[in-house]
């Protein structure tokens, strides 16, 4: 059996397949279909300081090989996350990564501090990059702000839990932001979040999504995501978690070759609920067949 564990800071994931925030709820939903403990980790729906209702509908629309969403970070808030959702997550035999979001630096820090006091959380993914809320991407568009945010969060994280900065591709240079996060002490960066898009109903001349713009995800964005992973790989030393339109194990392998240490499955969960498991199995088979003993040998092995 090849070694498929993946190291993110001081956290060792038993395998490199994670689920992307916002596409996997709080884990319990998909556990009705398969044993989610088999995954390398579960990244929760974003958790904010206070409960968020989210945007008005219509919130999603299908696009060619993708979908546009503007949910608006609807979530139960950190207090209800701790009282209602965490117990289930704590029972999982896999790494639970809490995705943290806020509308100010202070809120991000407060949420992280509150989660630090809880058991059963293996790491934090800091959502610097939601395109569907006001100022959602500010922290991920300006290297100084990204630096301040990650530094402030690292200051309150006393445990060994890694801090992963989730980055938007909607910037001139994602590599520059990634470098700022690394300089601030981030243990890892995850990318890409969705690409901003609009779909118009030509009969009504209105946007199909009430929020006007939404975040594009799905296989349509995969080549962009792979290019960003490759670009960031050249500018930082911390591990990269690759995200963007991964539907099959072949897609995941592309991300590893481009430079991702681990990957997240997002939109594919909606299309094929068993996708993360099938991807995991496919990765193992690929490594075995190609006599690759350690997944890490594949990471960043792109030949150009």
């Amino acid at each position: 059996m090849p070694n498929i564990s993946a190291k993110i800071g001081k956290l060792t994931l038993k395998n490199p397949v994670l689920t992307a925030s916002g596409t996997f709820g709080y884990g319990n939903e998909y556990n009705r279909i398969y044993d989610v403990s088999k995954l390398g980790g579960v990244v929760t729906k974003s958790v904010s300081r206070y409960e968020r209702k989210g945007n008005k509908p219509q919130r999603i629309v299908e696009t060619p090989s993708g979908m546009l969403n503007a949910i608006g970070l609807a979530n139960v808030g950190v207090e209800r996350f701790i009282s209602e959702k965490l117990e289930f997550l704590q029972k999982l035999e896999t790494s639970v990564i809490s995705n943290v979001v806020g509308s100010s630096l202070q809120e991000y820090v407060e949420v992280t501090e509150m989660l630090e006091a809880q058991d059963g959380i293996a790491g934090y993914e800091i959502n610097l990059s939601c395109p569907n809320v006001k100022h959602g991407t500010a922290f991920s568009s300006d290297p100084k702000l990204a630096f301040q945010m990650i530094q402030a969060i690292k200051n309150v994280v006393k445990s060994d839990r890694p801090v992963i900065a989730k980055l938007t591709p909607n910037v001139t240079s994602v590599a520059e932001i990634a470098k700022a996060c690394e300089d601030a002490g981030a243990d890892s960066v995850s990318l890409i979040n969705t690409l901003i898009g609009i779909v118009i109903d030509i009969k009504t001349r209105k946007p199909k999504i009430k929020n006007v713009t939404g975040g594009l995800s799905g296989p349509a964005i995969r080549p962009v995501a792979i290019a960003k992973v490759w670009e960031v790989r050249k500018s930082v030393k911390i591990p990269i978690v690759g995200i963007g339109g991964i539907m099959t194990w072949e897609d995941a392998i592309e991300f590893f070759i481009a430079g991702a240490t681990a990957i997240q499955v997002g939109t594919a969960n909606f299309v094929n609920p068993n996708a993360p498991l099938e991807i995991l199995e496919g990765i193992e088979n690929y490594l075995s067949k190609n006599k690759i003993e350690n997944l890490s040998e594949l990471v960043g092995s792109l030949e150009v």
Partner: protein
């Protein structure tokens, strides 16, 4: 720690039968011990195993037999048009059973079914279930015109029909026919079960409320997952600042629980 209650299975198509101009019944072969539906529950159906169209679509269960599932649908877009053209042996992916079902435990005597258009979907199974439970049934069915009335053989004789253009039955909306009938004869201990467009559900719920009859409505929405995860299918909760999820809290709601727009 696993609580397996939902299944996502690749199923071969057995047939697609056209029943009205734009209405079809899809029959698939399925492991019905796993994919076992209560009336009004729904499935997410991925119409092919390619990435286009990308997302599965929600469909109410229409009927089930051992090893077979039926879904009735109108062709409205990319997904349903592809589904209408499926051949025997083509593969679809079915995830289910999803959502809640009508509440039949209450002590009521008469079930009043009110369907609008393709809103007939959950009522074949409900009708049979009501009969099995020894309930009286009244069956209302509104359509735009006489060519858009789907006949459920076992229930057809009960149909009270309205059409928007008056080409068959009562000329007007089904809620108006229901109101007219209730003014004449008020069944004791009744319960309304309605499914159809939101305007029709709204009007039906108002009639039910006027006569003090509890009313359950079956809703639909654009959704990506059907599992309470994607948060696309929100609907306003009554007297609250919160949303309910149609896939997770529904698709069946007490008409007083939610605000239809």
């Amino acid at each position: 720690m696993q609580n397996k209650s939902i299944f996502s299975l690749t199923c071969p198509v057995l047939k697609v039968e056209q029943v009205l101009e734009h209405t079809y019944i899809l029959t698939v072969e399925a492991d019905t011990e796993k994919l076992f539906f209560k009336s009004a529950q729904f499935a997410m159906i991925l119409v092919n195993l390619k990435s286009f169209p990308l997302l599965p679509r929600p469909f109410s269960i229409y009927d089930q037999r051992e090893g077979e599932l039926d879904f009735i649908f109108d062709t409205v877009g990319l997904g349903t048009n592809e589904l209408a053209n499926k051949q025997k042996g083509d593969l679809v992916k079915i995830t289910g059973p999803l959502g809640n079902s009508f509440c039949l435990e209450d002590n009521f005597e008469t079930g009043i079914i009110v369907a609008g258009g393709i809103g007939i979907a959950p009522f074949k199974m409900l009708y049979e279930e009501l009969l099995t439970k020894g309930k009286k049934v009244q069956f209302y069915y509104g359509a735009r015109n006489k060519n858009l009335i789907h006949k459920i053989p076992s229930a057809e004789k009960l149909y009270r029909i309205s059409t928007d253009d008056g080409s068959e039955g009562f000329h007007g909306y089904i809620s108006q026919l229901l109101e007219k009938d209730l003014l004449e004869t008020m069944p004791k201990n009744a319960r309304v079960f309605a499914c159809g467009p939101n305007v029709m559900l709204n009007a039906t719920a108002q009639v039910a409320e006027k006569f003090g009859i509890p009313c359950e409505i079956s809703l639909e929405s654009v959704m990506a997952c059907g599992l309470g995860v994607c948060q696309a299918c929100v609907i306003d909760e009554t007297n609250s600042d919160k949303y309910k999820l149609i896939c997770h809290h529904g698709p069946i709601f007490d008409s007083k629980e939610v605000v239809l727009h």
